[in-house]
Symmetry: C2
Subunit: 564 residues, 2 copies
C-alpha cells in the first residue's frame, strides 16, 4: 500500500486578513474570502493534478462565519472541507484547534463499527460499535427494502410519491438515531463535544447507504437491479440530521452496483488491491462472500451467497464473533482430546465462523465426519477409541445426528451442538466460496498460483486459520504466507478517506474501473460448485496438503456414482 501524504477531508488554514478601515472598507465575508482564497490557490497550485478549485461558502454559514471572523479580530484558522471539485468553507476558529476530530463508520447491515480519529495527527481517539437498530424492521437487506417501500408498493410503482415513503422515513430515522448514539459514545469516550466532530466517512453496502440517505431502494432488488445512486457528492451533516458539527462534510463511499457496495470499495482501498502491479485477491465474508481480483490496471469482482454459514447466520448455534462465541476448536486425532476457546473467555453460547471451520476441519481430520460432511455411524467404526469418542459426543436430536461441542454441564447450563443440518449448510457455503474464487480466477485466465496475495477481510479474516479452511477445501491449497488477514477493511477504508485526498479520488477511480461478474447465471460457477461439495474436493489433487483416507475415497467415489 502506498504511503499517502496527509491531505485531510477538512483542512485547517491559518488566515490573517488586513484590518478594516476607511481606506479598506471591504465587507467581512469578501475580506475572508480574499485572504483564504490566496491560501487555497497556493494549496491547489502546489498539488497540481486537480487544478484550481473554486471556494464555496454555503449561504447558511455566512452569518456565523462573519461573526466568528470579526470576533477573532480578522485573524485565525479557517476550516475548509476539501471536496473533489471545490473547497467549502465550514467554520472559522480564533486559533488552531488542539485536535480536529473526525469519525469513520462501517455501516453494516447487522452491526456498526466506528472510530474517532484526529485529522491533525492521524491518531485514533476512540472506537465503538453497536448493533444496527434497523434489525428491528428486518434482519436482512431484502426485508428492509420491503419495509422501506411499503406505501409505494401499495400504491403501485407507477405512482410518483412526492413524499418520502413512510416506511423509508422510519428506517432512515432509526439508523440516524443509531449513528447519533454512536457519536455520543465516541464524543464522551474521547472527551470532545459532538459538534466538534468535523467530518464523517461512511462505508456501507448499497442498500444501507440508500436507507441512511433516504433514497428509494425499490429497484435495488428488482431486475435490472438499478440503485438510485452509486456515486454521491459529500453532503453536510445537518442534511442527514446527524449531531456532528452541522457543516461537517459526509463522505459516502461510492458503490459500483446494487450488490457491490461502498463497504467493498472501502476494502479494495484499504487492501491496496488497486494500487499494485501484482495481481491480488480480496475476500470479504459478510452476509455474502464478496471477492475482488485485480491490480492497478484492472479489477474484477463477484459476490456469492457463501457467507451466512460462515458468519453464524445459518447454523442454529451460529453467532457473530462476540463474547461467548467459540472461535477456536482443536481435536487431537489420536487422543480425541477436545479443546474449545471462546471470545473473552465467556461461557460458550455458540459458534462463530472461525470456530465452525476449526470444528468441521477437526471432525474431518479425526474422521468423525466423512468426505461428504456427514456424521459417520459409531456402530460402523472399527477404531475403538474413535468409536468411544463418537458414542460420547454424538447424540440424536429431532431424528438427526448432532455433535456436542460443549456439554450442558461445561457450558453453564447451555449445551452447544453442531447438527447435521448445520454441517450441510457449512459444506454448501464452503463449496460456494471455493467455486466463487475458482470461477473468478478462471475468468481472467489465471491460476491461484499466480496470485501474489490473498487478503481476507472482516472478523472472519481475523479469526480463521487458513490451514483449517484449506483442509475443508474452502480456500485454495497455497502456501500459508499468501494469506493475509486485514481486519475490518470497510472501516479502514473509511478512515483512509478522512486523511487523504488521493484516497478519496481512488474510490471514484475504483468504481469506474471495476467489472462485476454475475454468478447466478454463470454455468462455470455451477459446475465448480458441484465439484466443491466434498472435503476437500472431488478432485483431491487440487489439495495436496490435505490428508486423504482410503475408505473416504471409496465413499466419495460411491457418492459421485449415486449422484450421477
Amino acid at each position: 500500500m502506498p504511503v499517502r501524504k496527509m491531505t485531510p477531508f477538512v483542512l485547517p488554514v491559518p488566515v490573517t486578513a488586513d484590518q478594516p478601515s476607511l481606506q479598506d472598507n471591504t465587507a467581512d465575508l469578501d475580506r475572508l474570502r480574499h485572504a483564504l482564497g490566496l491560501k487555497l490557490l497556493a494549496v491547489d497550485t502546489a498539488g497540481g493534478a486537480l487544478g484550481v478549485r473554486p471556494l464555496e461558502i454555503p449561504f447558511a454559514r455566512i452569518v456565523p462565519l462573519c461573526r466568528r471572523f470579526r470576533q477573532a479580530g480578522f485573524s485565525g484558522v479557517a476550516l475548509v472541507n476539501d471536496l473533489p471539485d471545490r473547497w467549502v468553507l465550514a467554520d472559522f476558529l480564533p486559533q488552531s484547534p488542539g485536535r480536529l476530530p473526525a469519525m469513520a463508520l462501517d455501516l453494516g447491515t447487522t452491526h456498526l463499527e466506528a472510530t474517532l480519529v484526529d485529522l491533525l495527527t492521524g491518531q485514533v481517539l476512540f472506537s465503538a460499535g453497536r448493533e444496527n437498530s434497523q434489525i428491528e424492521y428486518g434482519a436482512d437487506i431484502l426485508s428492509r427494502i420491503h419495509q422501506a417501500t411499503s406505501v409505494r408498493r401499495q400504491m403501485r410503482e407507477v405512482v410518483d410519491l412526492s413524499f418520502l415513503d413512510p416506511g423509508l422515513a422510519v428506517l432512515q430515522q432509526s439508523i440516524v438515531a443509531c449513528i447519533n448514539a454512536l457519536i455520543v459514545e465516541l464524543a464522551s469516550g474521547s472527551g470532545v463535544a459532538a459538534e466538534d466532530i468535523r467530518a464523517l466517512s461512511v462505508s456501507g453496502n448499497t442498500t444501507m447507504t440508500h436507507l441512511l440517505l433516504g433514497l428509494d431502494p425499490f429497484h435495488i432488488c428488482r431486475e435490472p437491479y438499478i440503485p438510485m445512486v452509486n456515486v454521491i457528492e459529500p453532503m453536510e451533516s445537518r442534511e442527514l440530521g446527524l449531531i456532528l458539527h452541522e457543516a461537517a462534510p459526509v463522505w459516502i463511499m461510492p458503490s459500483a452496483g446494487s450488490y457491490f457496495g461502498g463497504d467493498l470499495i472501502s476494502g479494495i482501498l484499504a487492501s491496496g488491491l488497486a494500487a499494485t502491479e501484482q495481481t491480488r485477491m480480496l475476500i470479504d465474508v459478510g452476509t455474502n462472500a464478496e471477492v475482488v481480483l485485480g491490480n492497478r490496471d484492472w479489477l474484477i469482482a463477484c459476490a456469492g451467497a457463501a457467507g451466512p454459514a460462515l458468519e453464524g447466520g445459518v447454523a442454529r448455534m451460529g453467532m457473530r464473533a462476540a463474547p461467548g462465541a467459540i472461535d477456536f476448536v482443536s481435536l487431537d486425532p489420536e487422543t480425541y482430546a477436545l479443546e474449545v476457546r471462546t471470545i473473552g473467555g465467556a461461557p460458550a453460547r455458540g459458534l462463530c465462523g472461525s470456530g465452525l471451520i476449526d470444528l468441521v476441519a477437526s471432525l474431518y481430520l479425526a474422521r468423525i465426519i466423512d468426505i461428504r460432511g456427514k456424521f459417520r455411524d459409531p456402530d460402523q467404526e472399527s477404531d475403538p477409541a474413535r468409536a468411544a469418542f463418537m458414542r460420547e459426543r454424538l447424540v440424536e436430536r429431532d431424528g438427526q445426528r448432532a455433535f456436542v461441542v460443549v456439554t450442558a454441564e461445561a457450558g453453564d447450563g447451555d449445551e452447544v451442538l453442531l447438527e447435521q443440518i448445520d454441517l450441510d449448510a457449512m459444506i454448501r457455503s464452503k463449496a460456494a466460496m471455493y467455486a466463487v474464487l475458482a470461477t473468478l480466477v478462471g475468468q481472467v485466465g489465471l491460476a491461484f498460483e499466480d496470485l501474489a496475495e490473498i487478503c481476507v477481510a472482516g472478523a472472519f479474516g481475523n479469526h480463521i486459520n487458513p490451514q483449517r479452511a484449506i483442509t475443508l477445501g474452502m480456500l485454495p491449497d497455497l502456501d500459508l504466507s499468501v494469506y493475509r488477514a486485514i481486519g475490518n477493511s470497510s472501516l479502514q477504508g473509511a478512515e483512509q478517506v478522512l486523511f487523504s485526498r488521493s484516497a478519496r479520488q481512488e474510490c471514484l477511480d475504483i468504481v469506474s474501473k471495476i467489472t462485476y461478474v454475475e454468478l447466478n447465471v454463470n454455468q462455470d460457477f455451477m459446475i465448480r460448485f458441484s465439484g466443491a461439495r466434498f472435503i476437500p474436493h472431488t478432485d483431491p489433487t487440487l489439495f495436496p496438503s490435505v490428508p486423504l483416507f482410503a475408505e473416504q475415497e471409496e465413499g466419495a467415489a460411491e457418492s459421485l456414482k449415486t449422484k450421477g
Copy 2:
C-alpha cells in the same frame, strides 16, 4: 450597449440517456450525471473563457430528480443553474417547457418593482410593484438598521449573538412576505404557478440586501462602514423562504460598499457605462443622488444627499411619482397662465420630483422667485400683471410665503402648496447635485463637455425635463442630446443578469473596478456646493443658455456680499 448572447441563468438542457439493463446497471443519478455532464462539457468548451465547470447536484434535489428522470423514461430536459464557477442541477422535466419564467426585482427602500420574464424568449410576461412593507418599521435605512439591531444594541456589540437578532428576523420576514406577495401577483397575472418561476435576481442597496438575507447590518452605519457581505454567491430560493421553485437560484446584485449598493451596480450594467470606450456619466436619484463616471477602463462614483427634495422626500407636498402627483408644470412668463398635469390625470395630491423642478424653474423664469430661491414681494413688484398673479397665488402660511399650485376648489378640496421651506430644501438639493457632478468630473481632470452621454436613471430621469433642470442649475448646461433618460436601471440590470452570463460576470468586474469618492469629507465639494446655491449659479457663465435678469444679478451680488 453590447448585444449579448442569450445565456440564461437557468439553462434547459435536453438529455437522452441509455435505458438501464442487466448489461448497463448504472445508477439513476449517475446515469443522469453522465449524460448531462457531456452536454455541459460541450457548452463550457464552446464558451471558452470560463473553462470547464463542475456539475453540482444538491443533496436535497437527488430524490425528486431521480424520480422525475425515471418517470420521464430517462429522457427529457434538465434545468441547470448557470453559476459563475459551477453548474447546479435543479430539476428534470419530461419535455421542453413552453416558457421558463424568471423574476427580476428592484428592491427599493420605499418601493419594490418587479418583472416576470421568459428565459426562453426574453419576453416580459408581467410587471408589478408594491410598497416596501418594512416602511412600517422605519422610513429610511438608518431607522431600519436601528430596528434590525435592537437586541444586539441592548446586549452591547461585543456579545456574539448566536441567534438572529429578533429585530432583524422581523424585518427579514416582512420583506420576504412582501416579495412573496409580489410573486403571487406576477404568477397570477401571467398565468403561471409560483413554483414554476425558476430564477430570481435582486437589485437593492446594501442595507436592503442585508435585511433580505438576514445579514447583520450593524456595522454598515458605523465607521469604517463595513458591510457583512458585498459579493455573495447565488443561494437557493428555499433558503430565503421564497415561494418560487425551491431550487430557483437567487442572484443578489453585488454591492461595492455600505453606501454603494447592488442597485447602482445594476444601473452601471444597464446603462452600459462600463462597456464603452467613451466616458459617460450615470445619475441615479433615489434617497441619495448617486453618480458614477467612467468607461470600460475605469469607474469612479460618489453619493450625496441630493435626493430627498427631488424625489418628494422633503417638500411638505412632495410625493413619489404616482397617480395624483403633479409631474409637469408650465407657467407662461407673459400671460401667467398656469398649467398643471398629474400622473394618471388623478386629482392633484402633491408634487413629484419632476413637477417640483418644472415649478421652481417656471417660477424663476416668471420672476416669482429670485436668484436665491426666495419668493419675491408682490408689493415691490413693478410689473402689474406679475404683481396681480403674485397677489392671487402667494399666500401666507405659518408666517412664511407659500405658492398655491392647485387651489382647494380645483384640487377636489385639497390645495397643493409650495412653501418657502420646500423651496429652500429644493435649492440645497439642486446645489448638492450640481456640486456632486462637478466634483466628480473635476476629480478625474475632465470637464462636462468631455462626456459623451449623461444617463439619468429612475422615475426622476423619466419625468424631468433636462432643460428645466439646467435652468435651475441642477444639471450642467450641455446640449440636450447629451441627456438620456434610462428609466429604472436597477430593475433593468436585474433583468439583464437573468439572460446573460457575461452580464453576471460584468457585475463582479464592476465591483472590483470601481473607486468610491467620499464627499462628506471633500473640501472641493463644499466649495462647489456653496457656489451652486443660486439660480442657476453664482457664476452665470457656466449656464449661458439660462436667461439672466438685471435686478437679480444685483440681488445675487448683494447676497454674496452679505454672506461673504
